[in-house]
Symmetry: C2
Subunit: 201 residues, 2 copies
C-alpha cells in the first residue's frame, strides 16, 4: 500500500525528469478528475471554461484531455463523451450501454427472476430485492437512456412506491427530475391534480 501511495511522490522527486514527469502526472491527474466529474453527473453539460478555471490550464489543453477521455470511453464501451460547439456548448457524458452489456444484464435478470424460490403465496413473484438494488437499477436506468435518449424527456414520472428507485436512476442518467404520482394527495405536498380512471389490472 505504501508503495502505491508514494508512487506519485517518487516520480515528483526525480529532479532531472521533474519538469517532464510533472506535466505527465498533472495531465493524468486532471484526466482522472475530469472522468470522475463527467461520469458522475450523466447528461450534465460542463463548459470548457469550467474545467479550464478548475485546473488553471488553457482551454486547448482541456480539449486535448477531453480527446483522450472521449477515445478511452468509446474504446472500453462505457458510454459516450459528447462535445457541443458554440457559446452555449460544452461537454457531457452519456452513459450509453453497448448491445453486449444490455444482453448480459437481461440474461442475469432472467436467471434471477426464474429462481423458483421467488414464487410467494398467492402465486406472486417476489421482486423487491431487485427493484431496491442501487447497482442494478443504475444499470437498468442506463439501458432506458440508451433506448429512449431520442425522446429527450423533461421529467421521469413514476407511480409510488416500488417504481421510485428505477425512476430515480433513470432520471439520474437523463439528468432530469423525478415526478411521483401518488395514490392519495397529501397536505404536505400542496395543491394537486386528481385523475380517476378504471384500471385494467
Amino acid at each position: 500500500m505504501n508503495k502505491i501511495g508514494k508512487y506519485g511522490d517518487i516520480i515528483r522527486c526525480i529532479p532531472d525528469y521533474g519538469g517532464f514527469f510533472m506535466q505527465k502526472v498533472r495531465r493524468t491527474e486532471r484526466i482522472v478528475a475530469m472522468t470522475k466529474v463527467l461520469t458522475d453527473q450523466p447528461n450534465q453539460l460542463f463548459s470548457l471554461n469550467h474545467f479550464s478555471s478548475l485546473f488553471g490550464t488553457a482551454k486547448s489543453t482541456i480539449s486535448e484531455d477531453l480527446g483522450i477521455i472521449k477515445e478511452a470511453v468509446v474504446n472500453y464501451g462505457i458510454g459516450i463523451i459528447e462535445t457541443l460547439p458554440g457559446a452555449t456548448g460544452g461537454v457531457r457524458y452519456l452513459p450509453y450501454s453497448t448491445t453486449d452489456r444490455i444482453q448480459q444484464l437481461v440474461e442475469q435478470l432472467c436467471i434471477k427472476l426464474t429462481n423458483p424460490e421467488r414464487v410467494i403465496p398467492g402465486g406472486f413473484l417476489y421482486m423487491s430485492d431487485i427493484l431496491f438494488s442501487p447497482q442494478l437499477m443504475t444499470s437498468v436506468g442506463a439501458i432506458f437512456l440508451t433506448k429512449l435518449a431520442a425522446s429527450k424527456p423533461d421529467h421521469i414520472l413514476t407511480v409510488e412506491t416500488k417504481g421510485i428507485p428505477l425512476a430515480m436512476m433513470t432520471a439520474r442518467a437523463f439528468n432530469v427530475p423525478v415526478v411521483m404520482v401518488r395514490r392519495d394527495s397529501r397536505v404536505t405536498e400542496g395543491s394537486s391534480v386528481s385523475i380517476n380512471y378504471i384500471s385494467g389490472s
Copy 2:
C-alpha cells in the same frame, strides 16, 4: 468536434513516436476506464486480477495505474481509493466528501429551503423537488457515507415514500441494499412483520 475525435488517431499515426505514445495513450485510456469503473460503483471491491484480465496487463502495471488514480482522487478532494491487501483484498472507491464540500452543499440547501415560495397552504414546507432530485440526493448520500462510514451498515432502511430516493443514493454510496418499511403489507411482497407503535408526530 472532429479535431478532438481524431486526436488519439493523430498521435497514433506518428511513426517515430509511435511506440512511446502508444504506451502513454494506453495507460491514460486504462486510467480513464478504471476511474469510471471504480467511481461508478462506490464501496465495491475489485481484485487487481479483475483489472489485470480486463486490460490484459500485468498486476504491477495495474498497481502503478491505481497509484496515479489514488493520488489524483485525493488531490482533487473527490474521495478516497482504498487498497486492501491479501488474497481477499482489492481496490475500492469511497466517495467521501470534504468538509468544504459538505459546508457548501448545506448552505445551498438552506438557501433553497428558506425561499418563502416553499410555504404551502397549512404552513407546510414544500420539499418534494429537492427529495426527488437525483443529483442532490447523490451528494447527500455521499455526506451520509462520510459521516457514518464507521457504522458499516448491512442495509439502508427507509419508511415509504419520500425517503426512498435518499435511501437509494445512500445505499449506492455504501453499496448495500435498501429495505423499505411499508405502512400496510402487500400480498405481492410475501410474508411480513408488523409493528404497531404510537407516533409522536
